[in-house]
Symmetry: C2
Subunit: 628 residues, 2 copies
């Protein structure tokens, strides 16, 4: 990673004016310029490993999305995974050499996470051996794909396949959308940018409307499903094969939650150690705002969270690689669990990080609102993760479905394995002992004991959700209505399950750390993470009889003690995230702490300061004065 | 209000291209043009009542802040309130006629809420009878005032007054900053825009650095404090006189919380009744997403909150006017309570609304991220309220100071009056009966009973904070350290107090409503608001013994029932906020529900679509292809 950073940061070809001072069209223009440079340099340096490419790209664009993201991250990989050798021959090299610039067009105006509802059609015409692509309604217009608006000349389009009058569901088609010589849209194609968004200024998220666009039969990706010349359809061998990418990307997003939150924490904690404000003791100098308990209470639990999510992200990547190995051996047994876990953790971590970034921003007072802080940019770049790759509430409900299914299996005496195995014992335990008579076991200073409490809380909330479902069914509702009428409980159960997993993985990570100083600092953070969660969800722990009222007061006191402990290491703990100033791009988060001078220097460069007198004075204010 | 709306919306002079399609400089330019037009029209129509001006302005700028905000809202009123008759004669009419365009420059780079720390100096020179204005450090540069960067030619500058070698604290000075003929900065003045922010693109928030700028003695606002010719200083008669404006603005912000949240709710709830997605029952059409319980659980409590804050805002305005009347009679007795209440409620309502707007945005899926939804705009326009006019955590602590003081008075047997009077009885009650033996009194279907529970929760948390303070003092810490080490508890106490006030005022409002249909709908919302708060803070209610564990399950069930009830009226309840399409400016929130066609139409107008082929293709992509 650091090799890439040094290469990029010292490279004059990647310098640009501060993006905050550019219009959207200028930002898009600058991003295309840098992406084009990047492609050349990647070839020049011979960088081809996907993770190295990702790191290099991340440096070039300073963590921001860019117009070629979908070409590199979806179009090329989809060709590799779903094209036949013949198709790869036709499309891969042109795409590798950017004669074909592609995107992945799935989402439509009317449908996102619920992909079965997509309306775009691909109707096979055996007479010409072509597919006829259509956007039959306004809501079927492809909407949102990155790079679709202005950059791409091809798109992999997800469409309902019709052949011999029968719909066979969604399949992927390579559709040329712009001329490879003039870049003008092709006949039957209406394509453009979907307009400004909350962030993502560098990306031309686009729309695509197709009117009887004919593509050759071989433009359907046919490695698995096939349409023969006469229109005969051949099913793919397994529906699970498409799971993999989804699981991989959701696992990546967990890591992204940690990165975004750790950047925000770095900025806020460094700034809080430079900013002095108010009086703690009359007559003494103004203290650093990081000395205020309320500031610590905002920032330190988020710092602990950033570390927790980092370890969860690592675990997800490792697990993904391990299970991919199994899948390649034909063993799909762990896939459902991984699928459920990646859905829930994607939602859990992005929601928490999303809120946390804003807490960091607001903890910086007024200056957090300035774009020179980078905090607004981090937020708007990150917040779409709550929606893309599966809307978070839908993700939580997917995990809940797995939990409820597991719970029912445990109830009928099946022995569960894997991360839900706690539902075995918990089920017996919760059944055997009513809440009031169960002894409280939690030791609030012992992380293992807290992990146990989180586990029992999750078990309890899975049970509550399962019982709600059962109750609804007994009122003779349909299974679908029963599900909907229990969905608040189901989301809570998933949330508690994910929270347990995070605490558990954080605790497990400590066992791997041999350096005593690091171990001590991270143990304190893990305890902070766990206790803060108990305090925030105290109702659950009290309700489940896992905690007593007097213990709750001890939790408060213990939290305060831990905040004071973390204060000592806080700046070192964010320095350890190891973000270079060039990558953070934040005046408030500067490593040297020289904030005010650089803020002044930055402001002077603002476009409104290019002239001393803005033209609006001559156009409107001066004439107004003469009229009054 | 509606008269203004019709006047403005039909007025060709106020039309402009969608602000989302403009660069920041263009947005500033368009705002200055509209503000200049607005001044002319206000004179033409003879609109001079401050509230009417506010409504008109709000229409012209569609709820966004604008470059003349501080001229109209701070500069002119400060002249009226703090200038002597002689000064008014010199400055008021030129300012009224916009020869003088002014702003109010208080905040500096290094100090915001803690205004005693401001560093700008005004040193009286009796030799010339002038004040010498200086920005002695980088951190003393005035930073943030709206309209300061490019628009204003004068500023009321808050500075530490020095005369005869003694500092007399902050006073206000009228400082000319730009030439009234050329608009160029005057000698010794460095002034400009502070650069792009999270929102507020229309406003030239500015910086001001002064280097030995001399202004006449009469430019110090001398209605209260005075500096005589020889430099003799005369104190103002009362320090409380400056309280008023602060309290007024904070009260206004409470209303603003309701407006911003009600706009976001209107958009999200209308969209959720138009958007169809997924399957509830196999084979049936896709349901409106408002039929999903999880969607209702996100939006309906926020809808109830928007109504609650509306009533709280009304109460604050009425109370402000009543107490201002008292103050004019020389009765200051209620001012401390109002001051404490406005600080806490400003923080409580802005935090809740701030988070709520983002929940609304994310409940709209991908389309919520598009600027055509207006939700990003509502958020970035609103979020600074959490910081300006007093940073929220500091505000909560101010309220806590009042609560703890009141609690101590009650403990020593003093009889409290006003909104904290509950601390009288609560104190006795909590003292007399330990938590465990107290009978649980709350009836979760009865609003009055819930108000009582919120009251006792507040009393409990005030007690916890007061005891924490006491405990810290007994460890022989300084009062300042004790305060800091209890500040988490103090903020919680304020939060609970404000929550109680909101529930109480919502319940009280129901008594004023005679229409049975409206009364029934709002009673349901009030119950939803109260029960949702219990569920979100269940730990507090369990801890205080106000609720039992089995009751908590009933709360969950009751909440679900209420969501289903609110579903029937939800669209009517947001229609009742009565926002015209032109004011909401949201494709998703359109009254007619015709969303998809208008989204497509809006996107086609996006600046990136002005040419079919973006110039970056010719500049970077085409050349790249030839190099690979």
């Amino acid at each position: 990673m650091h090799v890439s950073e040094s290469l990029v940061i010292s490279d004059a070809d990647f310098q640009q004016e501060d993006a905050n001072f550019l219009s959207r069209s200028e930002r898009y223009d600058a991003a295309v310029r840098k992406s084009a440079q990047m492609i050349l340099k990647l070839r020049e340096y011979g960088i081809s490993d996907p993770e190295e490419i990702y790191a290099y790209k991340n440096c070039v664009h300073r963590g921001r999305p860019e117009p070629l993201d979908l070409h590199l991250g979806m179009f090329l990989p989809t060709l590799l995974n779903q094209a036949t050798p013949e198709q790869q021959e036709a499309f891969f090299m042109p795409a590798w050499n950017l004669e074909i610039i592609g995107t992945y067009a799935q989402t439509e105006m009317g449908h996102g996470t619920f992909i079965r509802g997509l309306e775009t059609t691909a109707t096979y015409d055996p007479a010409t051996q072509e597919f006829v692509m259509n956007s039959p309604t306004i809501s079927s217009i492809k909407w949102w794909p990155g790079g679709l608006g202005k950059t791409s000349n091809h798109a992999i389009v997800l469409a309902q396949l019709y052949t011999k009058g029968i719909c066979h569901g969604l399949h992927a088609f390579i559709v040329p959308i712009r001329s490879m010589s003039t870049h003008e849209p092709l006949p039957g194609i209406e394509v453009g940018d979907i307009g400004p968004k909350f962030g993502f200024d560098e990306v031309d998220n686009g729309y695509l409307k197709m009117d009887n666009v004919r593509i050759p039969r071989m433009n359907m990706l046919m490695k698995y499903a096939k349409v023969e010349r006469d229109g005969t359809y051949q099913k793919p061998p397994s529906a699970k094969l498409t799971y993999g990418t989804m699981v991989f990307i959701r696992s990546m997003i967990v890591g992204e939650s940690s990165r975004a939150l750790s950047k925000a924490c770095t900025i806020a904690i460094r700034y809080s150690s430079v900013r002095h404000q108010s009086e703690l003791r009359p007559g003494e100098p103004e203290p650093q705002i990081l000395d205020y308990q309320t500031q610590q209470y905002k920032l330190f639990p988020l710092l602990a969270t950033a570390y927790a999510f980092k370890f969860v992200g690592q675990y997800m990547t490792e697990t993904y690689h391990r299970i991919t190995g199994d899948i390649n051996q034909g063993d799909f047994s762990e896939l459902p669990e991984l699928h459920a876990l990646s859905a829930g953790l994607k939602a859990f971590t992005t929601w928490v990080a999303n809120g946390g970034i804003e807490v960091c921003r607001m903890s910086c007072g007024g200056h957090g609102y300035s774009r020179c802080s980078s905090l607004p940019d981090i937020y708007v770049t990150f917040t779409p993760t709550c929606t893309y790759e599966g809307e978070n509430t839908v993700m939580m409900l997917q995990t809940a479905r797995y939990l409820v299914k597991s719970y029912r299996q445990a109830s009928t005496g099946q022995q569960l394995s894997g991360i839900v195995s706690y539902l075995n014992e918990a089920h017996q335990r919760l059944q055997a002992q009513p809440v009031s008579s169960r002894p409280t076991v939690v030791n609030i200073s012992d992380l293992a004991s807290l992990v146990e409490a989180y586990k029992l809380r999750a078990a309890k909330l899975v049970e509550v959700a399962a019982k709600s479902l059962q109750g609804e069914l007994q009122k003779s509702r349909s299974p679908e209505d029963a599900w909907n009428n229990s969905s608040i409980d189901l989301v809570r159960a998933s949330d508690a399950h994910c929270h347990y997993v995070v605490v558990k993985l954080f605790a497990a990570k400590l066992g791997e750390i041999s350096d005593t100083g690091v171990h001590s600092a991270l143990s304190t953070l893990a305890l902070l993470y766990a206790l803060h969660g108990v305090a925030q969800n105290s109702g659950d722990f009290l309700q489940a009889g896992l905690l007593t009222v007097p213990q709750l007061s001890s939790v408060s006191q213990r939290l305060k003690d831990i905040l004071a402990q973390v204060r000592t290491n806080a700046v070192a703990l964010v320095d350890a995230f190891d973000y270079r100033d060039e990558m953070l791009n934040s005046v408030l988060g500067r490593y040297d702490g020289n904030i005010y001078e650089h803020m002044f220097e930055w402001a002077r460069k603002s476009p409104l300061n290019r002239t001393e007198v803005h033209e609006s004075y001559h156009k409107y204010l001066k004439p107004l004065q003469s009229k009054l």
